[in-house]
Assembly symmetry: C2
Homo-oligomer: 488 residues x 2
């Protein structure tokens, strides 16, 4: 045998020495991977390229984020700011604290002096008006209104669609939202219907109201103010509020101060922030956010055949739900039952009636006990909790689905509702958890071994130095059972 390699079994001394070296030093752990965040550079460059007032908006906006939002927020996009609370805080309370409420801004945050601000009402109203904040707050003119409202972004849970198939690419609309792009707050303001009435009502033919915000929007090399419209029918039923208070505090700048719209049961994109103008019109606005974006296409529509007219306009969100605890990829040590928590919501004034959870990927469903659901509201989510039976160990998929009061329920797989715009992830929410059932003897013993040695059981992908079975036990077993290969 040549001397250019080591025949270890021939050199027990070398072998022992090597062993000693290895146990006397520490080596780096196996590598990990992570997903990179989206920088949002283009929008800043656009603002700087335009210059003037806009040049400083990115920095100003970021300063407001740091001041008004919780340090726990997950920043999906720095500018325009898109952020959501981390999973553990989304449903910690049925009402979302302001610093944790998700933010999906379409532009920078305008700097508005509330005392100089007024709202313009024009277009097809009988008497166009300019109303200051004091005017709106004058209860002799407008009765005060308070509502608990859930606002949901149509991009909620988009990350699941992105994970399945790539879709329309644009760092703005493609923000990879998880389950936190939804929030619930108590809003105080006035009904837009009362304000329209104050303008003498609508002219003949007026059927929609265009709401315009002070934020600058960029679209295909054009700049404009953010604008959408809502049908007057929505206004008439007191489902559109003009709001200056959120959860007992003045409306935060990042959420639209001094005054924003809150359009109940519609996607968040309709609840215009930094509102400064309302125009009565005959048809839905042609502003791009309303006419060319937030469209829901058939699965086969894409870059190769997309026409705006083929997309359904996304106004109301369908029934949906999410598991907020445990988390995807979490290692769950339990005693045969796993605590599961989350939210359920349905748009358009429908509400969750039943929430069902599965521990076997959607084959069998357990109903969340009615008493474990938070209070019903016409325009708010319900949070829920249950103990889900789970005997199985290893990777299991926990799934939730909701039935609303119209008996709508959710498609079962992400692909069922996948669409090019990556909007409206309405499929049953599924998470993968690693189940470790301490009711099982072998598992309990093994966990005890980790504890005795003071070694952390997680991450499960980190190998252990101590096998569960001794070499003697292994030999013993095969002495009785015969070798692994069948003898002829």
């Amino acid at each position: 045998m040549g001397a250019q390699y080591v025949e270890w079994e021939d050199y027990p001394d070398k072998k022992r020495k090597a062993h000693e070296i290895l146990v006397s030093q520490s080596f780096p752990p196996p590598p990990e991977f992570q997903l990179a965040p989206i920088p949002g550079i283009r929008w800043k460059l656009w603002h700087r390229a335009i210059g003037g007032r806009l040049a400083v908006v990115p920095e100003e906006s970021w300063a407001i984020v740091l001041k008004e939002k919780s340090q726990d927020m997950l920043h999906l996009l720095q500018f325009p700011y898109n952020g959501e609370p981390p999973k553990k805080l989304v449903t910690a309370q049925p009402i979302t604290p302001n610093p944790l409420h998700f933010v999906r801004n379409h532009g920078g945050i305008p700097s508005i002096d509330p005392s100089a601000w007024f709202l313009r009402l024009d277009g097809l109203v009988k008497t166009p008006q300019k109303l200051t904040l004091s005017d709106l707050q004058d209860e002799s003119r407008f009765p005060r209104m308070e509502r608990l409202v859930t606002i949901q972004c149509s991009g909620t849970r988009r990350i699941e669609q992105i994970g399945l198939y790539a879709g329309e690419g644009d760092e703005m609309i493609n923000a990879p939202w998880a389950e936190g792009a939804i929030g619930t707050a108590k809003y105080v303001g006035v009904s837009l219907k009362k304000v329209i009435k104050y303008c003498g009502g609508l002219e003949e033919g007026a059927k929609h109201l265009e709401l315009v915000g002070a934020d600058t929007y960029f679209k295909m090399n054009e700049v404009m103010n953010y604008a959408i419209s809502v049908p007057y029918s929505k206004v008439k039923s007191h489902e559109v509020m003009l709001v200056w208070e959120m959860n007992g505090e003045p409306l935060p700048k990042i959420h639209g101060a001094p005054v924003r719209a809150v359009v109940m049961g519609y996607i968040g994109a309709r609840s215009v922030k930094w509102l400064y103008r309302i125009t009565a019109i005959t048809e839905p606005t042609r502003a791009p956010v309303q006419s060319k974006e937030y469209l829901y296409f058939n699965q086969q529509v894409g870059k190769h055949n997309q026409r705006w007219i083929d997309g359904i306009q996304i106004q109301e969100m369908p029934v949906s739900s999410a598991i907020m605890s445990p988390w995807n990829k979490q290692v769950v040590l339990h005693e045969g039952k796993i605590e599961v928590k989350g939210w359920a919501y349905s748009g358009g004034g429908r509400w969750p009636e039943r929430v069902e959870v599965s521990a076997d990927g959607g084959f069998s469903w357990y109903a969340v006990p009615t008493e474990n659901l938070s209070t019903k509201h016409k325009f708010a989510w319900r949070t829920w909790q249950m103990w889900l039976p789970c005997d199985v160990e290893g990777w299991v998929e926990i799934v939730v689905r909701c039935w609303d009061n119209s008996l709508n329920t959710q498609p079962i797989e992400v692909r069922n509702a996948w669409n090019w715009g990556l909007h409206v992830t309405s499929s049953a929410h599924r998470i993968r958890i690693y189940s470790v059932n301490k009711k099982k003897e072998k598992t309990r013993e093994r966990l005890g071994e980790f504890e005795r040695r003071g070694v952390s059981f997680v991450p499960i992908t980190r190998p252990t130095d101590f096998p569960y079975m001794t070499w003697e036990e292994y030999e013993e077993y095969f002495k009785k059972a015969g070798p692994r290969d069948v003898d002829e």
Copy 2:
């Protein structure tokens, strides 16, 4: 209105100027993500810590990789070297060229002088022998043997299991193999049976042969030579060769020069490279690769309850197949039929009889025409090709499955065969492709538009500046169809 933000519609001049600025500059494209490679640092540190001959092995081995393997190889792990050919080359030819044959080394490449090399035969053989390379090549003693053999790593397509659920973590055994950890070559050597006969045959009770390689293996702070065993029944039927020639060339160093074993129909881990010793034994070897690794566990077995005795020893690979063209996430422009190519293989001397392909995620299956499969062999794969009908546009999932001559077929989903060790990804191989069907008028028109403008259609996630529909067409449509919202 304050002067602190821009009401764009009030300042057409500013708006126009902004537009001019935007079209006059270029901005960076939307961001992309990528998976990080595995560095393989621990094994190098181990070698350096041990020192002596081993200290230089990482560099020597890498130099051999660069010399013997194609520049096209995908390096999954630099050291010990693990690499596979890129998808476009895996099935380019039914016989894999040596520089493109996958390599799954368990240690560094030993430096062996062929003229000094000899093979030791000992243990329960009647007459222990030492045979030089010239001895083995002496046709008066040993008849020459030539066979076409497919060698497959039990980690082939592991990346699909990793993508679904994390499993046992170890940068060595967890190499994220794709579909290229399989290769087919014509080997020349002698049958091990003849060599055993030359030793006078086996002693009473000898049922297994331990094959030992010159490479150094590290396991739980121990060092040793790489070793496994094969049952004598396998040897007796001339299914174990001692090989020094691969595809008409001397066996490359990286593939085990001067002599390696080729165990037909077994996983690659049994075909020991840099072979220097064969020992006849009564039971399968207790060497870790054979006794504690390459075990196939039930889905519920993991870090919390894993015992070696509960895993099935992985010797033969089950029936499997893979799509090598198109590639996962490829944008496929076609005329209603997509060309699909790949391989199919079954271990243990079974062979692919039928290959079936689906364009709808596994709901309907088309058989690959028999004449489109390469020649049948007892121990080699079959490559195949077909034109798969596909009318659907957008993201579709193409799936392949194989039936072997024993009528075994593949589980349909990755989860069906997922296991803690991430071995034996035997589920039907599925890829996601973006289908663009030029037989559709709208699609053809749109592609023409990209061509006229000289703009690349891919990547599809890159937004376009020119919509498919004009504003006038949009207005026209809603004039006829009415607005998006239903009027009361």
